[in-house]
Subunit: 235 residues, 2 copies
């Protein structure tokens, strides 16, 4: 059993925290010949930053890394090359993010909370992870969300119109859930609208609890994101 | 009369292109003691980058810079210090962005197109400006818009729910309009919902034409944005 501090410094007991890091992207949008999760940030592959952040946040946490079958050998070689020794379990990825997460949940046991994180969000900070675990232990889930700095418009077949930017939240990861409830939600058949875990959770009838996000927790999808991440990493 | 090339390389005649750069912010969110539009990017104040981009896009363009009364002396000193000699006209800012733009429109004459730009978006590229002028010459207005890389949720008093991120556009500047129609739109009384010029334009019954934006055209509102901008500037 681990104890983590909430923002108000009360101790919250959390049993069996688990982490699933999903890294199934092929990197097509990056224009890179290697998968984007293997690109280097501050001298080491993106994924290693994500794994280290979870280990720093909760030293005893078991980490599952979901990778496509064809990338697991390369990952093993990278771990040797970069002397990366953080313990983690490899899980084979599926056709979509939904199927990848489902593969990892299938081998997750016990109760407690599970954090599911995009491997290509390497700037996640240990403090954010701890805050989200604390929120999830109270609300059964915690989804990091930030606001937009830009004005927003809704555009569809009918044209476009302004929408209230205060009502729109940009959703990040890690998304944290009660493991057993999330596993029950993942019994649902796959739908195209399942772009993240909060969507699967919501569709199963659960309430989504939005928590604070981290502005710098960007997703690396384009080459310029990597340049931005390098700059933010130095802050 | 200027001629600018559209993306398809057809020449489009555009008379009387004008530019209004709005810089009224006090910089409170930056935690800086100097207004954010005066902060340095790549060695010179943010505003100078915006002005130079418009001059590069359309060499003959008249540029109006809207600044609060109390900042105009400091700006003059910065222009001397940084040997900044791009011609521009100073306009006194108003209580809100709406009132600042209205002050500049009041002294804008003739017909043609007017581009209105946030002074704190210093990474705007001349090619983006030219593309938007070309779009506006065909559609009477052009509003730069990009998509979100994150999943989005709608949060209000009723709770929160997922929304289709393909339908939500993040709106940038410069927003370009037919000058006379925009002046007519600005006859409307001020409303709190007037957060940008597209909103004022739409409220007057005009159709908003969304055009492509520029991913790196970020708004500098927080200290980390400046770090990101420095990195993007080097690309």
């Amino acid at each position: 059993m681990n104890f983590i501090a909430t923002e108000g410094s009360h101790l919250v007991s959390v049993t069996n925290q688990t982490c699933i890091i999903v890294a199934g992207g092929s990197g097509i949008r990056m224009g890179a010949s290697i998968p984007k999760q293997f690109l280097l940030l501050a001298g080491k592959p993106l994924l290693m930053h994500s794994i280290s952040a979870f280990r720093m946040a909760v030293p005893s946490i078991p980490i599952m890394l979901v990778l496509p079958d064809g990338q697991q050998n390369s990952w093993g070689e990278l771990c040797i090359q970069y002397q990366f020794t953080e313990p983690h379990t490899l899980i084979t990825g599926g056709l979509t993010r939904y199927h990848s997460v489902k593969n990892a949940l299938a081998v997750s046991e016990g109760s407690g909370l599970v954090a599911i994180h995009d491997g290509v969000r390497p700037l996640i900070q240990p403090e954010t992870i701890r805050m989200l675990f604390a929120e999830a232990s109270t609300h059964s889930n915690a989804i990091p969300a930030i606001s937009s700095n830009d004005s927003l418009r809704w555009a569809d077949d009918q044209g476009n119109r302004v929408i209230d930017r205060n009502c729109v939240k940009l959703i990040q990861t890690p998304q944290i859930f009660e493991l057993n409830k999330l596993k029950a939600a993942y019994v649902q058949e796959y739908e195209e609208s399942f772009t993240d875990d909060a969507t699967v959770w919501e569709k199963a009838g659960n309430v989504v609890h939005l928590a604070g996000g981290q502005e710098s927790n960007i997703k690396i999808t384009r080459p310029e994101d990597l340049v931005v991440a390098e700059a933010l990493k130095l802050l």
